[in-house]
């Protein structure tokens, strides 16, 4: 039984790939046929691949409805705009937050007219509230990202 050498194998692989994709030109078709007739291993490989080709040729993605394409840019544009809005909003929230904290420290915490108990109490309240907010926010974000059942309708 004749065996392919390394160069022939490389050549056959290219021809087989093109054959699978119906891309062989007339010369290549002749070369490919020669391989199939002269080398049983080539004929066997082609038979195997043909059965795979038969199935993959029937597997094409479904087309979404026309509305999906009509709305595609519109939806992407909205996302772009919303992303920009979020950046501006976050920047504003950060500046206001920083100002409130600064005012809270310089005007309230160091004011000796405010009873010490009230200063401690409000500090704990603020720190606790902030910690709770961050914890809930983190949990929500984490769940949204990792929840394996999020696509299941409840």
């Amino acid at each position: 039984m004749r065996k392919l050498n390394e160069n022939q194998r490389a050549q056959f692989q290219d021809l087989l790939t093109k054959g699978f994709d119906n891309q062989l030109d007339a010369d290549e078709m002749v070369q490919f046929d020669n391989f199939l007739q002269e080398y049983p291993e080539c004929a066997k490989e082609w038979q195997d691949m043909k059965s795979l080709q038969h199935v993959t040729s029937t597997m094409k993605f479904k087309q979404p409805s026309k509305e999906v394409w009509d709305m595609y840019w519109h939806d992407t544009y909205n996302r772009l705009e919303r992303g920009f809005a979020w950046i501006v909003f976050s920047l504003g929230a950060f500046l206001v937050g920083a100002f409130v904290i600064y005012q809270f420290i310089t005007q309230f915490l160091v004011d000796s007219n405010v009873p010490e108990v009230l200063r401690w109490g409000i500090s704990f309240l603020a720190i606790g509230g902030l910690a709770l907010f961050i914890s809930v926010l983190r949990e929500k974000l984490f769940t949204r990202k990792r929840d394996p059942y999020k696509e299941i309708e409840r």
Partner: protein, 200 residues
Amino acid sequence: MQATIYSEKVKTSMVKAMASERDLILRCQQGDKNAFGTLVQKYMQRAYYSALGFVGSHDNALDLSQEAFVRAYRAIQKLDANRTFYTWYYAILRNLCLNFKRDTARRARSFSEIGEHSLRTIPDQVADTSRGAELHELQSAVWNGLDKLNEKEKEIIILRDIQELSYNEIASTLDIPQGTVMSRLYNARKSLRAQLDGKF
């Protein structure tokens, strides 16, 4: 002679297309959202089907392909205007899809859950019901086999066999030479065939 004229025509139209894409990218870099809209409309179908190949569900593919466009727009200043937009965009989309898959990997998804809803059947090949059922079983086996391949192998089979991109389009999308496309396709199909051993 005629072939030379034809290839010159093809070359000229490719140069024109590249020039107009370059112009669009430059306009995007100056903040022109309409220019970006033209790029989105040009590539949205390819982007959606690529994402569908990775994640297998319509909603997620739509969401991820749009998110990738948003990220591309935010980073458009980094894109060299002489490069093809889609090659650059595809790298963003690919990363996004692979991250998404990694995050949802705990729930393995079968053909009946994904493939059946994403794939259409070619009518003339399923003329009778018994053949239809048999084909459905084979498609299921191929889909599950695809899922067992590594990402590069799965990706190239989906681009070629399911999305039906040409070798040239695949080479440009993945930014690899055409010879590599062919050898990668050969190896990927061989691996898939090995996964399916005994099923055909």
